[in-house]
Structure formats: C-alpha cells, structure tokens
Amino acid sequence: MANFSTNEFKAGLKIMLDGEPCNILENEYVKPGKGQAFNRVRIRKLISNKVLEKTFRSGESVEGADVLDVELSYLYSDGEFWHFMNNETFEQIAADEKALGDSIKWLVENDDCTITLWNGTPISVTPPNFVELEITETDPGLKGDTAGTGGKPATLSTGAVVRVPLFVQTGEVIKVDTRSGEYASRAQK
C-alpha cells in the first residue's frame, strides 16, 4: 500500500494507525510562527470505531490502508456468518458477528448494505438508512391516539426494539431509520 504525506490527508483517506485501519475525518494545520508545523488530525478507527485526535509532524508519511466500501445485498445467516452477494458478479462474502456489530438487528433479506472491506475482509456493515420490518410484539394501544405522543415499545422480527406510536399494532410492517433507531412511518403497502 502507498504511503501518504500529511499534505495528502483529507476527509475520507484511509490510513494505518497502531495496526488498525482508520478513516481521516479532519486535518488541521497548526504552526508556531517560527517553529515546526504540525497537523492535528481527527481520525476514526474503523474496527473499534473510536474517534481520536492525533498530531503528526507536517510532511511526515504514514502507510495507507487497503479499505474499500462495496454495496452488497444481504442473503442469509447460518448462525456463525452473515452472507452477502454482489448482484452483478454474484460473488459472495461472509461477515462475522464482530463486523456486523449493532447492524445485525437491521438486516433484511435482499436489502443493499455497505460492507467495508480491509484487505478483502469485511470489518463493518452499514445497513440502508431505512429498513422495513414487521412488528412481532407490542401492547395493544389506545384507540384514537394518532399524535404518537409518548408511544410504546415494539419488538421487531429481527429482535430490535423501537418506540412506536400507540396506534401501530402487532403484525404491521414499519419503516425504521437505522441511523437513529427510531420509527419513521408505517410501511407503504
């Protein structure tokens, strides 16, 4: 992998830090009037997902990380691995539980997910911003409540629990924003 100098650092560049692939979020140039210049860089570690600030000496080079985002559609889980497929090449990739993290609860068959590959291995899975899931269990709500104030918890087919308005019932399919984990609307029939 190529090396990148601090003046090539920009948001989105992937570099290696402490043996972990990282995404650069921000690169700020700082310099004392008559002294050495530094780059104060905000970085997200792509495996631990930690955000940190790191100072580099300007002009310093670091190793790039072979990180690639691919759009794959979710097929199924065998309990140990979650299988995804490239709809054009039909090539399949399996991701483990660690790579999926919290995304597990938003996986819907045939949905297109963004899989981040490091050296060809999945390290994270991002579901679509909105997914449609069926409610498997929720308390019967009070009739007439249409404002959705307060709401009630509902368990979805994947095990995810979201707050829904009182008028939504078990068996209905709802649309959820996976970024916030919040109810968006009833699914369009």
Partner: protein, 332 residues
C-alpha cells in the same frame, strides 16, 4: 458560514469596514507617537534562512539585461526595515503584505497582512507595553499577563527546560501521546534542534490551548536556540529577549530586543543553513546587503511583527482567516 460561489469575496462588507477602522486606529496611534510609516519592497534577491520559514519565489525579466533574476517574496519586511534604521531613520512602522510558502490553515494563509514596527531605544519590556497599547486601542482589552517560556513549562508540564535532556523530553512527549513523532527523530546530528522541535510540539499542543483565553498573555525569554534575531539576555544568555503575544487561542505577535552584532547574525544564519541541510531543505543565500547594513550599525531598538488578519479575526469573532480577507486563498 455558507459556502459561497467561487467568484465571490470571502469577507463580508462589515469585516472590511472593521478592518478600515482598525487600520485607521493603528495609523492614528503611530502618528501620535511620532512613528514614521514606511513602505518597503515585497520582492528581494535574498530571503530568510529560518528552518521553518519558506519564501515564495518568482523570476524577474529585465528588458535591459539578458540575465533573469530569481526573486523572493518577503516573509516579513524585517530586513528592509532594519536597513532603514541602519541608515538613520527614526522609529518606523509598516503595514505590509507578506507571503509564506507551505502555510494554509485556520490561522494561516500564503498571503497575509503584517503590522511591523521598530522603536529606537526601547528595551523588550517597553515594546511589550507598546504592543499592549495597540491591543487596547484595537480590541478594547485592558491588562495582560506576562510569563516566561520556562515558567510555562514548569507550571503546566512540570518540566525544567533549563537542564532538560533530549531523552527526558522524548519521555515527556511519549507520555502525552506523541511517541510516533519522537520515535522518528533520532536526529543525532543535532540534538539541540530535536529539543527545539519537542519543545515546540509540547508548547503548541499542550500549553498554547491553556493560555490567553480571557486576557492577552505575553510569553518572554524563549530559549537561546529559538532566539531568531533577538539579543540574548545579558544576565542569563541561555534565554533570548524574544516575546510572543497569545490571545484567544491565537499567536498574535512576535517581538525582539534586536540583536545588532553582525558577526553573531552571520553565525546564526550559517547555523540555520546547516539545520536546513540536515533536514534536507535547500540552503538560502545570505542577505549580504542586510548584513552590510548591520555592520554599519543598527541603533539600539526593539521590533515586533503582529499578524493583522489574526487581530481582525479576534475583533470580528471569526472562526477562519478567510472571513477577514477580501479574497482568501480558497477564493483565488
């Protein structure tokens, strides 16, 4: 701030009006003090030798000569202004466009406006008071704190910089999370420049964010190795009569009680060039006209350079230098 289309200015009309008001106050102050405004060339055949300062360069074609001349854009008007002083000028000031290569950021632009002035027969302390008067007039700030470079390290990091070894500083830098930077130093050819780099790193990342938040802080007596063109302290020559002013997270001004010894100056330029060589940077030709002027004699004086864009940023409460420049670097 909303992203503007390419052709539009980066500063608002209000900020340009504010700039005029501030420039008028500065000119009014120096006029009342009998300090003469001067205007020296932006171009020169030579430039500064500082390890961490790089001039922009250009080529001049003379219609009366076949030879094309390599010219540098000034990083500050210091050398020309000192040549005026050597020629017998009184105290002088200048509001000058300056240019520095490889500097772009929130507080940095390759082209910027500098207020530089020299006071005859002023010692460092008198010049500090003068700078504070300019800040009082332009930013309405009252009072300031003054602390030495060494005391700041003592107070905030518990490091005694007078006797500190390269190894001790490396350990301190590693402790604060800069181990990657120090591990790549091993510049055994010049331990003193490694020490300066580590001091600058600790100062920039750990001390600067803590000082001058509410009122200006004047940091005095930088280590002799960072003297630049300042005279050394008579009682304790490991420190230089150099100061910097910090306010609201910004390094605003850098001043010296000026070194007049031309032999010492030549020595400093040559050791700068050696450092440049060690750091794989191009050496710079010495400014012989400047050195000749200094040999003729610089009157006893102190001088300071103040970043006007940064002063304006404070006055206008700006987040980025582009907000106070009519067309900032990214609008060129």
């Amino acid at each position: 701030m909303q992203q503007q289309a390419n052709w539009q200015p980066s500063a608002t009309i209000q900020n340009v009006v504010l700039k005029n008001t501030i420039l008028a106050k500065i000119r009014g102050y120096f006029e009342s003090e009998g300090v003469l405004e001067v205007d020296t060339p932006v171009l020169s055949k030579s430039t500064v030798t500082d390890l961490h300062l790089d001039a922009l360069e250009t080529i001049h074609t003379n219609p009366l000569s076949v030879k094309r001349t390599h010219l540098f854009l000034q990083t500050s008007p210091e050398y020309y202004m000192k040549r005026l002083l050597c020629a017998g000028f009184p105290s002088i000031f200048q509001i000058a466009k300056c240019f520095r290569d490889d500097e772009v950021g929130r507080y940095h632009s390759p082209e910027f406006l500098m207020l530089e002035w020299y006071r005859l027969d002023f010692c460092m302390q008198e010049l500090i008071d003068d700078v504070m008067e300019v800040l009082r007039l332009t930013l309405n700030v009252e009072g300031y704190q003054q602390i030495t470079y060494a005391s700041l390290f003592e107070k905030h990091l518990n490091i005694d910089i007078t006797g500190v070894s390269c190894l001790e500083l490396q350990a301190a830098c590693s402790k604060y999370g800069f181990e990657d930077i120090v591990s790549k130093l091993n510049n055994s050819q010049n331990q003193s420049s490694d020490i300066d780099l580590m001091l600058q790193l600790l100062f920039c990342e750990l001390i600067e964010p803590l000082i001058g938040k509410d009122s200006p802080v004047v940091v005095t007596h930088f280590p002799a190795s960072q003297a630049s063109l300042a005279a050394l302290n008579v009682d304790n020559p490991i420190f230089a009569e150099r100061f910097e002013v910090y306010y609201r997270g910004v390094e605003l001004a850098n001043g010296f009680e000026e070194l007049g010894d031309h032999d010492e100056l030549r020595e400093r330029f040559n050791s700068d060039n050696k450092l440049r060589e060690i750091n794989s940077k191009k050496q710079k030709p010495l400014d012989e006209k400047f050195l000749q002027a200094m040999e003729a004699g610089l009157p006893s004086c102190s001088g300071v350079a103040l970043g006007l864009d940064r002063l304006l940023m404070i006055a206008a409460n700006s987040e980025h230098i582009r907000e106070v420049q009519s067309f900032s670097f990214d609008a060129w």
